[in-house]
Amino acid sequence: MEVIVFSALNGLLYGLLLFMLSSGLTLIFSMMGVLNFAHASFYMIGAYVAYTLSSGIGFWPALFLAPVIVGLIGALVERYGLRKVHSHGHVAELLFTFGLAYLIEEAVKLIWGKLPVPYGVPDSLDWAIFTLFDTTYPAFRVFMMVVASLMFVGLWLLLKKTRAGLMIQAALTHPQMVGHLGHNVPLIFMLVFGIGCALAGLAGVIGGALLVTEPAMAFTLGPIVFVVVVVGGMGSLTGAFVASILIGLLQTFAIAIDASLADLFALVGIQLDPKGELTGITLAQIAPMLPFILLVLILIFRPRGLMGARES
């Protein structure tokens, strides 16, 4: 019981962090058709900027300022980089963001050094919010869940219920028509890219404090964010949400289970050596691999993802 409750909580938490990261990515993709390889790098910039700001002006101002700064950087990247590359097609865009990811990592190393920086949970949130089965649960984690949920609701409302959202939705399928109607499509693109990056920045502010802020943080989370977006369906916000939670829970529950592969096969009647080199591997050990197995399965059986809006 205890394990189930805490695995669920931890899985939910991890899933929500993944969602915070992938929402921006899926927004950018659905709007611009750009697969932003540097997305996790903006997450990293968010964490580092928040670290620097919070040592000067405190955590709470940093929580609002850092995403804005990251968003501005994102907008500049779109305006002076991506927009020029855009005319050369998708491959050029992909390569551009790929290179950008490396550039950002090196820049971060130059500015903040190669070592992890001491960016942690702020004192005002560093307490136990509740105790369950003798286990305390930190307030910061609950705070993170609240922020992520607000983000989901806010984004959903923005896209579905406002005029701006309507325009974004329209530009997704009919960019020419939206342009002909007198809307400034390049400006919308810049805004969307900026907002997408700002969302990643916000995830960084919180994720950096919760986990570790170091130059490799972008590359460790980068691949899994793509898994979320592909599994959820390219360009689907709800899909990204569902996929994030699914992957979070999947990975966390797998850690909690000690059954080995041999035990799993035994369930379907195949007897294997439970202590074997390969068959003795426990589910907990392959937990980090599970999202990628899911990715492969989704690509084979449902290429457009769980709730994908685009076929291609």
Binding site: E2, V3, F6, S7, N10, G11, L13, Y14, K109, K114, L115, P116, P118, A128, T131, F133, D134, T135, T136, Y137, P138, L210, L211, V212, E214, P215, A216, T220, T252, I255, A256, D258, A284, Q285, P288
Partner: protein, 407 residues
């Protein structure tokens, strides 16, 4: 004109050749992670080596030759380490040191064995200051490898001896990193607990990916659910920091027996919640009293703003200096011969390098995280306090090593 520049080129060439011949520095290749998840650990080790190199140089160097530490970033990746090793060898470096990651040490030992077989006239010496997979001084021992830290088995003997005296701690949870060292710890714990305290129950036996876990909460939830009385872990670097961070967050109150509880960043992450609970087994810690090491620690801490942690780096460098004097040479083969069986007087007593398997025999200390210490670590106000000392000879284990010495 052409003739003159040709002449100049020849002159420069001769000068350079002369410079190389008279090289009065001995370069030591430091191959450890300087970027990525374990960069802080590698950086700390590098500072210790550079600091001790300065000390050795001020004290006459290696037979008058100055020691220089040349750092190579291996990104904690065995393949990258071999590239860096080759780079070091290409630069004419014939002494390398490494410590972080037994998987790395294993690759380096293999590569050096191969290199030395193919180039018997230009051998390379490997001084290992922290990779503690017991295999390196047993089945896979090498004449060219010397270990200055106690191996995983020796430390586990000490931990399980202590556990055997604690009847109240009957449920044990073992968690470690999924690679050769983590598995060695796991195997040693299982074997020794079964032999010494068969009545105790192992309620969990877990391996997690090395340096990949960013949030240990799921593991802690599992440990709590297992009702464990005590946790044993060989984790180090961020895996150690994040494990105790998650444990404190969740209010886990079982004692944690560690190899590297005092490692860089860990005391800060643990904070108050770990007082009296986190224990470590080490060759030394800052509060081993009255050794006269305080001025040196103060100097190091003043220079680098991190705690002096690797006492064994000091031992390594001093023994290297002594070996050079004894051999009258800085050639790897002569150094290796001189190191074999060498005894060395240190602040903690006499330590000696076993000739049969190249494992350093030194006293070990079991200590507990405490607020009642003269020297705190990382400015936390807390530090480690000795529970008891295990004399060097008592830590020695049997070896299966069949050393092949160059003829």
């Amino acid at each position: 004109m052409l003739k003159r520049s040709l002449l100049a080129a020849v002159a420069v060439g001769t000068l350079m050749a002369a410079g190389a011949a008279q090289a009065d520095t001995v370069k030591i290749g430091y191959i450890d992670p300087l970027s990525g998840a374990f960069a802080n650990v590698g950086d700390s080790g590098k500072r210790h080596f550079e600091f001790m190199a300065d000390k050795i140089n001020a004290n006459g160097g290696l037979n008058g030759e100055m020691v220089e530490i040349v750092a190579f970033d291996n990104k904690i990746n065995p393949k990258e380490s071999l590239i860096q090793l080759q780079k070091a060898i290409d630069q004419g470096i014939d002494i390398v040191v490494q410590g972080n990651g037994s998987s790395i040490a294993s690759a380096i030992i293999d590569a050096i064995e191969k290199h030395n077989r193919r180039n018997p006239d230009e051998p390379v010496l490997f001084l290992n200051y922290a990779a503690v997979d017991p295999a390196f001084t047993n089945d896979r021992c090498s004449f060219w490898h010397f270990r200055f830290d106690a191996d995983a088995d020796m430390k586990m003997e000490a931990l399980t001896d202590w556990l055997a005296t604690r009847e109240d701690l009957s449920k044990i949870y073992i968690i470690g990193q999924d690679y050769s060292f983590g598995k060695a710890v796991q195997a040693a714990a299982n074997r020794m607990l079964a032999a010494k305290s068969p009545e105790k129950e192992i309620v969990g036996d877990e391996l997690h990916p090395l340096g990949k876990v960013k949030d240990f909460s799921p593991y802690i939830a599992k440990i709590k659910a297992s009702d464990a009385d005590v946790v044993i872990t060989g984790n180090w670097g961020t895996d150690m920091t994040l494990l105790v961070k998650a444990a404190s967050d969740a209010g886990l109150d079982a004692p944690i027996l560690t190899y590297y509880g005092g490692g860089l960043g860990t005391p800060t992450a643990m904070g108050e919640s770990a007082l009296g609970r986190v224990m470590q087994i080490t060759e030394w810690h800052e509060n081993v009293a009255d050794l006269g090491l305080e001025p040196m620690m103060d100097e190091f801490e003043g220079e680098h703003q991190i705690d002096f942690y690797y006492y064994r780096v000091k031992n390594l460098m001093e023994m290297l200096q002594k070996a050079a004097a004894k051999a009258g040479s800085t050639e790897p083969a002569a150094l290796a011969m001189a190191l074999e069986g060498m005894e060395h007087e240190t602040e903690v007593g006499t330590i000696s390098m076993r000739a049969d398997n190249h494992q350093l025999i030194q006293p070990l200390y079991l200590s507990t995280f405490s607020d009642d210490v003269p020297r705190d670590v990382e400015g936390t106000g807390f530090g480690f306090k000795t529970d008891y000392r295990i004399e060097g000879p008592a830590t020695a284990t049997d070896t299966t090593c069949e050393m092949k010495r160059p003829s």
